[in-house]
C-alpha cells in the first residue's frame, strides 16, 4: 500500500467518526435545551467536543480545532454552572454545530475548511466574558452545597499549580478536597489535635498533601493552628466535614471540593501522557456495541453472489426431485440427494443474513428531524412538541436514503400549514403547544411510517374550490368525487392551497414528488384528516427483499410469479362450482370467496394473452393486502420457489422504452434460463 492509500484511509476514518460525533453532539444539545441537565449529558458533550478538537488537530484542520476548543471552553463554564445555558447560549451552540457540519462537508469534498469563524468566536467570548464579570462583582465563592461552614474566597481555596500537578494522577472516581482547618488559638495541645485530625481524616481519605507535614516533630509554639490539607476520597462533602468535627475546639473549617468525582475522564489543562492514555481507554470503554464499517460495494457483491446461489439452489432442488423419481433405489443417488435439503437450508440462512446486513434502523432517517423541527418551528413562530416512535425499526438501506426527501417535505408541510399559531389554537380550545408525531413500525411484510399532527386538518371544500379555480376539474366531474378523492388531489403536480410562496412551501411542487418517490419504492401513501382536529400521513413500503418466495403460474407461454406474502389462498373449482361462485355485474366479474364478494381478474384478459380457457376447471389464486383482495384466474399453477427479483424500473414506466406496463413490477431469471414476470399487485388490486 502506498502513502496515498494511508492518507485516504485516515481521512475516511476521520470523516466518519467526526460525522457521528457532530450528530451526537447536536442530539445532546437538543436534550440539554429541553431541560435535561444531567451531569452525564454535559460530560458527554464535553467529551465529544474534545474528541473532535483532537482529531481535527491531528489532521491539521486548524480552524476546526480552534472552533472545537472554543466550544469546549464554553461547555466547561456551563458545566461548572458559571454560565447558564439560556436561549442565546443555545443558539450560539447550535450555530457552532452548523459551522462544524459545514467544515465537515468541505473536507468531504476534498477542500480545506478555511471558513471565517471570528464571528462565532467573538460571540462565544462575549458570553464567557460577561459571565465572568458578573461573577467577580458578586463576591460569590461557593462551589459546594453545604452552607453550614463559612467559606473563603474562591482563589484561596483553589489548587495552586504545583498542587494541581500532584492531583493529576488521582483516580477519576474520587473527589478531591482542599481543606483548611483553623484550630482555636487558645486550645491546648494543638499539635496533638492536629495529629489526631489527620489520622481521623486518613480513615476516609487519601491525604495527598498536608501542611504542616509532620505533627510529631512540631511544638505548640511553632504551630499556628492552621492546617492545610489536600485529600481525595470516595466520601462526599458531609462525611468529610463530620470526620473533621470529631476533634474539638476547632474555630473554622473551610472545605472546597476542587474536583468532582467524575464517571468519565476529567479534562485538565496540563497534558500529560498518563492522563491522555486514560482518556483513550475510557472512550473505548464507552462504545456500547462492537461494530465494523463495511463498504456497501462489498455487501452488494455478497448479495449478488447469494442471489446467484439461490437460483442454482432452486435448480438443484428441481433436479433432486426428478432424480428421486427416476433413481429412488440407487443408494449413491440417495446419498447425494440427502445433501440437498441441507444445502437449501444454508442458502436460505445465508440469504437472510446478507439481507439483514443491509438493514438499517429508521433512526438513520429520523435523527435529522429534531433539529430541523426545532429550527422550523422557531422560524414559523409555532410551538410544538415533537415525538419519535419506533426508530429502531429496521429497513433496507436503499429505502432509508429515499425516505429523507418525502419525510422532510411532509414534516415541513405539517409545521408550516398544518399546525396553527398559538393564539389560533388557544381560541379553538386546543393546547397552545401542538403535537407532531413521527412513527415507524413493521406490519406484515411492510414498513409503515406515520406523520401525525393535531393541527388544522385539510379542508376538502378549500380543495374543491381550488380545483375549480385552477381548472383541474370541471363542475360536474367534481360532484362525482368523494371527499377522500378530493383530498387525494393534493398529490397532483402544481397543486397548493397556499396563496403565498415562501422558501418552505407553497410552490406546489412538493407532494406530487413525494408520491412519486414513494411509488418508486413500490409503496403507497395515504391521508387521514379531519378539519380542526389534525392530519395523518401514512406511508406503506414493502420491505424490498431482492429475493422472495413466489408462486409460479403459467398463462399461455408466460410464466408469472406471485409473491407468496400476498397470497391468501389458492383454489381449484370445477363444473357447477364455477357458475355458483362467479357472478357478473355489468362487465365486471365477482367471485364469491368465503363470505365475501371480491373482484375477479382473468390473467389472460389482463395481460392480453391468447390462451384458451378451460370451461370446466379453473385455478384461482386469492391475493391481497390489508383489506383489499382480488381473485386471479390463472391457467396453471406451477410450483413455489425462491426467486431473485430484478427490477424493470429502467424500462417500465411512462416515457420509458416499454411504456407503462401495468401489472408487472419486475423479472426473475429462472434456473432454466427463462423468465418469470413478477406481478405488481398494487396496481392490479
Amino acid at each position: 500500500m502506498d502513502k496515498q492509500n494511508f492518507d485516504e484511509i485516515y481521512l475516511n476514518l476521520f470523516l466518519e467518526e467526526t460525522k457521528e460525533q457532530i450528530q451526537n453532539m447536536e442530539e445532546k444539545f437538543l436534550m440539554f435545551e429541553q431541560g435535561n441537565h444531567e451531569q452525564d449529558i454535559v460530560n458527554e458533550i464535553f467529551r465529544l467536543a474534545h474528541s473532535i478538537k483532537g482529531s481535527a488537530a491531528v489532521m491539521e484542520y486548524e480552524t476546526m480545532a480552534q472552533l472545537s476548543h472554543n466550544i469546549e471552553n464554553l461547555l466547561d463554564k456551563i458545566r461548572d454552572k458559571k454560565i447558564i445555558a439560556d436561549n442565546e447560549v443555545m443558539d450560539v451552540l447550535f450555530e457552532c454545530i452548523d459551522l462544524l457540519k459545514n467544515m465537515h462537508a468541505t473536507i468531504k469534498l476534498g477542500n480545506i475548511p478555511n471558513i471565517d469563524i471570528s464571528h462565532i468566536l467573538s460571540k462565544i467570548n462575549a458570553i464567557i466574558f460577561s459571565a465572568e464579570r458578573e461573577k467577580k462583582s458578586k463576591c460569590d465563592n461557593t462551589n459546594h452545597d453545604v452552607d453550614d461552614d463559612k467559606t473563603l474566597d474562591q482563589e484561596e481555596l483553589e489548587l495552586t499549580e504545583e498542587e494541581k500537578i500532584l492531583c493529576e494522577d488521582v483516580e477519576f472516581d474520587l473527589y478531591t478536597y482542599k481543606i483548611r482547618i483553623m484550630l482555636d488559638e487558645n486550645s491546648q495541645m494543638k499539635c496533638i489535635k492536629g495529629f489526631m485530625l489527620i489520622r481521623n481524616l486518613s480513615s476516609i481519605c487519601n491525604i495527598i498533601k498536608c501542611d504542616p507535614p509532620d505533627f510529631e516533630k512540631l511544638s505548640d509554639n511553632e504551630f499556628d493552628g492552621i492546617i492545610n490539607v489536600i485529600a481525595t476520597s470516595k466520601e462526599n462533602y458531609e462525611s468529610v466535614n463530620k470526620k473533621i468535627h470529631t476533634i474539638s475546639e476547632i474555630k473554622d473549617i473551610y472545605i472546597k471540593k476542587v474536583r468532582e468525582k467524575g464517571k468519565k475522564d476529567q479534562q485538565i489543562e496540563n497534558k500529560r501522557i498518563i492522563k491522555n492514555k486514560k482518556s483513550v481507554e475510557n472512550s473505548t470503554h464507552l462504545k456500547k456495541d462492537s461494530t465494523i464499517r463495511i463498504d456497501t460495494i462489498k455487501i452488494d457483491k455478497l448479495l449478488n453472489l447469494v442471489g446467484e446461489f439461490i437460483v442454482d439452489k432452486e435448480t438443484l432442488n428441481q433436479l433432486a426431485l426428478e432424480l428421486k423419481e427416476k433413481y429412488k433405489h440407487e443408494p449413491l443417488i440417495n446419498k447425494f440427494l440427502n445433501l440437498i435439503p441441507h444445502l437449501s437450508y444454508i442458502g436460505s440462512e445465508l440469504q437472510e443474513a446478507v439481507m439483514s446486513t443491509r438493514m438499517l434502523s429508521l433512526d438513520n432517517v429520523f435523527n435529522r428531524f429534531p433539529r430541523m423541527v426545532r429550527d422550523l418551528s422557531k422560524r414559523c413562530g409555532k410551538s410544538l412538541e415533537f415525538t419519535i416512535e419506533g426508530k429502531e425499526t429496521e429497513v433496507d438501506k436503499e429505502i432509508i436514503e429515499e425516505l429523507v426527501d418525502p419525510l422532510t417535505h411532509i414534516i415541513r408541510n405539517a409545521i408550516d400549514h398544518g399546525l396553527e399559531y398559538p393564539q389560533e389554537r388557544r381560541v379553538s380550545g386546543k393546547c397552545e403547544t401542538g403535537t407532531l408525531k413521527l412513527s415507524g413500525r413493521h406490519e406484515g411484510n411492510n414498513v409503515v411510517i406515520e406523520i401525525e399532527d393535531d393541527g388544522r386538518g385539510i379542508d376538502s371544500s378549500k380543495i374543491r374550490k381550488k380545483l375549480l379555480d385552477k381548472g383541474f376539474c370541471t363542475e360536474d366531474k367534481i360532484n362525482f368525487l368523494t371527499e377522500k378523492d378530493i383530498i387525494k388531489y393534493i398529490f397532483e403536480p402544481g397543486f397548493s392551497t397556499t396563496d403565498e410562496v415562501n422558501d418552505i412551501s407553497g410552490r406546489g411542487v412538493g407532494l406530487d414528488v413525494v408520491k412519486s418517490n414513494i411509488g418508486q419504492l413500490n409503496g403507497i401513501i395515504d391521508i387521514q384528516t379531519k378539519v380542526g382536529k389534525g392530519t395523518k400521513f401514512i406511508i406503506k413500503l414493502p420491505l424490498t427483499l431482492a429475493i422472495v418466495k413466489a408462486l409460479l403460474v403459467k398463462e399461455e407461454d408466460y410464466t408469472f410469479a406471485i409473491p407468496v406474502s400476498s397470497i391468501i389462498e389458492t383454489l381449484r373449482i370445477k363444473g357447477e362450482e364455477i357458475n355458483n361462485s362467479i357472478h357478473k355485474i355489468n362487465e365486471v366479474e365477482m367471485f364469491k370467496w368465503r363470505d365475501e364478494l371480491i373482484p375477479l381478474i382473468r390473467m389472460n384478459n389482463y395481460f392480453q394473452t391468447n390462451s384458451m380457457q378451460e370451461q370446466n376447471k379453473l385455478f384461482i389464486v386469492v391475493v391481497g393486502y390489508s383489506e383489499k383482495k382480488v381473485a386471479l384466474v390463472v391457467e396453471r399453477l406451477l410450483n413455489e420457489r425462491e426467486i431473485v427479483i430484478k427490477s424493470m424500473s429502467d424500462f417500465i414506466g411512462k416515457n420509458k422504452l416499454f411504456g407503462n406496463v401495468e401489472g408487472i413490477s419486475g423479472i426473475s431469471i429462472l434456473g432454466d434460463g427463462g423468465f418469470a414476470y413478477i406481478l405488481d399487485l398494487v396496481h392490479i388490486i
Partner: protein
C-alpha cells in the same frame, strides 16, 4: 480529433451507423431465445437473458417504420449501452467499423430533420450513403 469511429449495420439494404462508443456487444440472433413480454409496444420483440442480465430487444424496423419481414436467421443483435442500460436492437447484419472525418459527414436536409429526427447526420464515403443515428432518440430513452 475530427475523426470518429462508427459501427455500420444494414436494415432493408440501407446502411446505418452508430457511434462505436455506444456499442457494447454484437451477437447472433440464433444464440438467444427471445421471451415475449406482455402488454408492450409492437416494436419490443421481448427480452433475452444475457449472462444473467435482462436485456430488452427492440425491432428497430418497426420502430422507425421500415418495412418489416420475419426475422432472418442471419440477423444480428446489436447491444448498445445507453445511459448505463443495455438494450439490444435487431438488425439485418453488421458490416464493419468505419472512420469518418468531418468532411465526410453532412447535415440532413430540412425535410429529413422534421420527419426523422433520429438521423443526426449523413456519412458519405466511397459513394455510399450511411445514415448516422442518434439511438437515444430512436429508442425514446430519457
Amino acid at each position: 480529433m475530427n475523426e470518429k469511429q462508427y459501427v455500420v449495420f444494414t436494415l432493408d439494404n440501407e446502411e446505418y451507423a452508430i457511434d462505436i462508443v455506444k456499442v457494447y456487444e454484437i451477437n447472433r440472433l440464433i444464440e438467444f431465445r427471445i421471451f415475449e413480454f406482455p402488454k408492450v409496444p409492437k416494436y419490443i420483440e421481448g427480452i433475452i437473458n444475457l449472462r444473467g442480465e435482462v436485456v430488452p430487444i427492440v425491432n428497430i424496423r418497426k420502430k422507425i417504420n421500415i418495412q418489416c419481414e420475419s426475422l432472418e436467421k442471419g440477423s444480428r443483435i446489436l447491444i448498445v449501452n445507453i445511459k448505463g442500460k443495455l438494450i439490444g436492437i435487431l438488425v439485418d447484419s453488421v458490416s464493419e467499423v468505419i472512420h469518418l472525418n468531418n468532411s465526410e459527414i453532412c447535415e440532413p436536409c430540412e425535410e429529413m430533420k422534421n420527419k426523422y429526427d433520429f438521423i443526426t447526420s449523413i456519412g458519405r464515403k466511397d459513394n455510399r450513403v450511411i445514415f448516422i443515428l442518434d439511438l437515444q432518440k430512436v429508442l425514446n430513452v430519457e
